[in-house]
Symmetry: C2
Subunit: 186 residues, 2 copies
């Protein structure tokens, strides 16, 4: 994890583009009362802090922690939403080293409890962003020993999300179409 | 916000007891596959970091941010759960300065979108912990200009949660009884 993840001035950094797109999209959802979805703060363990004033604190030594859950969660049309978003520069596959095992276990749990869980993966070089539902992620993992998911699998099982003006990355459109929300209405 | 919030060695600190009780309870829910509810990491803004090695980072200057949402969220029986937990040493009332306005707005949004939102408030000196649903919090705020919610209001509208062996603070029992989960089954 690099500091680039934390300064708004470095959002032009390629590695931040997807996160920024999702944050802008979530803000659009919030402002238009469509959904309430937030990125969780980055987990840090604080070892030392200073207190220059009664209501002031400066953290002087802290470390990044491995996250035990995914980065994003919230609510949409009464349903719990939970996902992880990752970019890859590879043109051919998404390396599974990008996702921790406990994040996969977390997504499984969420779906077992009635939530909607998925990955958003951007192939930066191809300029394509896919939503892959947990069921299709697990289907792949159960049937493969590979350390990466081929690009073709995203083409086949994933759902392409196009960049638009607003909302910039309308991933909830995929949920509307394929996320099981309409199953209950039927 | 004090450093005591971050060292497990200081969990004996009185101000941490409720948080610790909820964390232990959430772990029980997780381990027994009852619910998936986590405390969000504390929000910090990182200004400086060092990189002693390729996979090492030490944060050297960071600041606490005012949270824009509540501390806890997750899923239970298919429903989105969202709450804030606070302690007070007062025997007579819960000071509203403990809750930020945007946290109240957040709880309202959650409920509007079909989630279950509430506060857990512990009166430390009285050794009593109450769950107060968002609707009763808003009812109070709409009808009062007071800067604190009287203890009597918690006795009347809140739901007492007793400390037990396991789960230590079974707040989901209140959700089962009064949280509207059974409305859908009827």
């Amino acid at each position: 994890m690099r500091l680039a993840n934390f300064n708004t001035s470095t959002y032009s950094n390629r590695g931040m583009a997807l996160e920024e797109d999702i944050n802008v999209t979530n803000k659009y959802y919030l402002d238009n009362d469509i959904a309430v979805i937030y990125k969780k703060p980055t987990s840090v363990t604080i070892h030392k802090a200073e207190y220059p004033g009664p209501h002031e604190a400066i953290i002087r030594e802290a470390y990044f922690k491995t996250p035990s859950t995914t980065d994003y969660n919230g609510i949409y049309k009464g349903r719990y939403i939970d996902f992880e978003a990752k970019e890859t520069k590879s043109k051919t596959s998404f390396p599974l080293s990008n996702i921790h095992n406990h994040q996969i276990e977390h997504l499984k749990r969420i779906v077992r409890h009635g939530g909607i869980g998925f990955l958003i993966v951007r192939f930066v070089t191809l300029e394509e962003t896919y939503l892959l539902f947990e069921k299709d992620l697990i289907l792949f993992l159960n049937n493969n020993d590979r350390k990466s998911i081929p690009y073709e699998y995203f083409k086949e099982k994933g759902h392409l999300i196009k960049i638009k003006y607003a909302p910039r990355l309308n991933y909830l459109e995929v949920i509307d179409k394929y996320g099981g929300l309409y199953d209950e209405i039927k």
